[in-house]
Amino acid sequence: MARIVGIDLGTTNSLVAYMKDGKPCVIPGRTGRAMVPSVVAMTDNGLIVGDPAKEHLTRSPERTVYSVKRFMGKGLADVQGELAYFPYSLTEQGGVIRIKLGEKTYSPPQISAMILKELKQRAEAHLGESITKTVITVPAYFNDSQRQATKDAGMIAGLEVLRIINEPTAASLAYGLQEKTQGTIAVYDLGGGTFDISILKLKNGIFEVLATNGDTHLGGDDLDRQVADLFLSEIRSSHGIDLSTYPDHMQAVRLEAEQAKIRLSDELKTQVTVELPDSRGRFTRELTRDQLESLTTNIIERTLAPCRLALKDAGLTPGDIDEIVLVGGSTRMPLVRQRVRELFGKTPHCELNPDEVVALGAAVQADILSGGTTDMLLLDVTPLSLGIETMGGVMSSLIRRNTTIPASAKEMFTTYVDGQTGVDIHILQGERELAKDNRSLARFRLKVPPLPAGVPRIEVTFLIDANGILNVKASDMRTGQTQSIEVKPSYGLSDTEVERMIEDSFKFAAEDVNARKLIEARLDAGALITTTEKSLGEGVHLIAQEDVTGIRAALSALAAAKDGNDPRAIRARMADLEQAAKGLTVALLDDSLKRGLQGKKVSEVT
């Protein structure tokens, strides 16, 4: 079977990992860094992703998308409260958010697909083979629409998503593999945009999730926002500047707030500097860990209620938890660790890198699916109750939250008017009594043969698969015939739309490849210029003056090409430079050999 990789598609950073000799490991990029910032920028030369895109956050904020995961499976109304924080403009079409970048609009799965493609290419370059199959992680508390959107992103990126697994359970797989742990563990996962708590029982290689809870809108982003809001109001009062009209400076403040927060995990105080627009100087202040903690304590407190609910659903008390595992970059904050320790009365584990552990777990799950690992099995649950709207707008629950998946429920439908030919069904997810307070997943119309009222008997099977995604099937109990159901998702892309996006992604691929080639060529050119200049400094006395002139000319030609937009021109000038510097390289090598031999006896050399 073809290799399956594991992908952690995060709010802030994404990673790809694979199983190597029975051990999961993350795949680094060209620069050696494993994390790809989940940022996509539209430049004049096409779309770019990751570290180079991150530079555009302050340069062209209105064309640089970050934290797109917060929009997956959502409509515009869901994110109304935070629209002001995002510098790019959002619209809605068919219940799905669209992000405007230049002239085009993109759905969140399309943006996520660009990040996935970057990871795919990274894995292909590292492993030297084509990668088409993957396991992708999602927050445990993601609903059906958010999971489906993630799957769509995979398809658009040209990846077959064999399994969607929950981030905290993925982390437990990575831990379980390493520690051979038995007992009851709690995984506390505070990421860039989401919070999950999962309680699992580990026994003889079975990872049974007992309960899960969380908040898909609570994470490091929200902590940064508290800090950034403080800076913004101080800048307003001290300098009289409202930065909200300067998207680039808003981004700079956000990034500085994030960096200060990160530094304060190791230090007790830190210096903050923000350049102000229109040469108005700079804003500086000292931020202490105490100040950060009082700014963020309310948000961190919000993670504790889901923890208590999960314990209650699992029928456990904090004392029953044998071990606590911390996942997600935000768990590096000392206050988070302290609150978790206080709640469970135990010191949490953090041996594995909290940024990488989810991707490592995804690689383990990928290995299980490909038949490599056979002694481990993950039994996960559905995080939210699934039901249908009944008369009076009440939700009737069919599959309760924290039910082990795959899970199915059957429901019999009939008519109450003679000759009625259809029954409308509205599928919901959530814990509230009234249909309108829960998440609308989809609607469909059940076809019924025209018969006297109450005679038709249509059995509908609602099945939540191992990905936590709903499948619906209907069969006529009188004839035994099954009918295909066309489900219209409330907050998702239709199949046709996904297909069109896959086509588009091929169409724009050439454009994107060019942007990518340009970035790589520029990086390589920069490296070549630096090393050549260094060599020239060391060996200028070893070569003829005309060679020195030749190298200097080739250097400036390359520097000029590097500022241009043609990767092929850059590569050509690089070759020129290498050719011009050939003599220098040889001379330097000879020189170092000679010096190495000095002071050594002949017998030592031969």
Binding site: M1, L162, R163, K203, N204, I206, E208, Q365, I368, L369, S370, G371, T374, L377, L378, L379, I388, T390, M391, T403, T404, I405, P406, A407, S408, A409, K410, E411, M412, F413, T414, T415, Y416, V423, D424, I425, G454, L463, D465, A466
Partner: protein
């Protein structure tokens, strides 16, 4: 729109028992894999949850054994292990795993287990009682009044505090009643199991069987009612 709940394995929905392998058409001895071609077989709709786990229809179950069997069958059926198999096998694995999960959830909880067994033996337990059980009638009516008073009272006032104390006392009493019912159910479960062990086919045994089923049904129904009242209470007084 009209719809009503039905359990997936009520005797009314029985289909033909499976007896042939879907793949090689050889006869199946009763386990989940064909002896000849080793293909996974769908768990028949006819198989009740007890049989699915290889347990007799008893109300006392060793939960350790149940869990061990659940893990064993999960390893046999889970879709994770069918990724390289045919589409048919993947579909069977998915269906079997879903059935297994439902079966485990039902049998793990003593009350759900009893409700399921009652359903198998004598048809579904009436889902929700609409009127209080006779012996609780007066008590429940009074409680409802107190709850209404409390909801409209100023909670910080003396009256509010008194009502709250009264409700808390009521909660303790009702929780004790619920526990008493559960103890009584346990006794009936043991009696049921003992009767099944003896396996007598006399008319006396049949009368005993019907009496036990009737009593269990009555208590389970009352217990659900009390449980809902307690939940309501807890939700109101916090």
């Amino acid at each position: 729109m009209d719809h009503h709940h039905t359990h997936s394995t009520t005797p009314r929905e029985l289909q033909m028992a499976r007896s042939m392998c879907w793949h090689c058409q050889s006869e199946i001895a009763g386990e989940y894999f064909c002896d000849r071609c080793v293909k996974v077989q769908p768990v028949s709709k006819e198989t009740d949850y007890f049989t699915c786990f290889g347990f007799p229809r008893r109300l006392t179950i060793d939960t350790g054994q149940l869990e061990a069997k659940f893990y064993e069958l999960s390893r046999a059926f889970h879709p994770d292990f069918y990724q390289n198999k045919s589409e048919t096998e993947q579909a069977i694995s998915l269906g079997n795993a879903a059935t297994l999960n439902t079966a485990y959830r039902t049998l793990r909880d003593p009350i759900q287990r009893a409700e399921y067994l009652l359903d198998l033996e004598a048809g579904a337990v009436k889902e929700i009682r609409t009127s209080p059980p006779a012996d609780l009638f007066e008590e429940i009516l009074e409680l409802q009044d107190t709850l209404d008073e409390y909801r409209s009272a100023d909670r910080a006032s003396d009256t509010g505090r008194q009502l709250r104390a009264k409700l808390q006392a009521e909660q303790t009493t009702l929780e004790q009643r619920k526990r008493d019912m559960e103890t009584r159910l346990q006794q009936l479960f043991s009696e049921w199991d003992a009767l099944q062990e003896r396996g007598e086919a006399t008319s006396q045994a049949r009368t005993e069987r019907d009496r036990l089923l009737k009593q269990m049904r009555e208590i389970i129904s009352n217990r659900t009612y009390v449980k809902n009242i307690v939940n309501d209470l807890v939700a109101t007084i916090g």
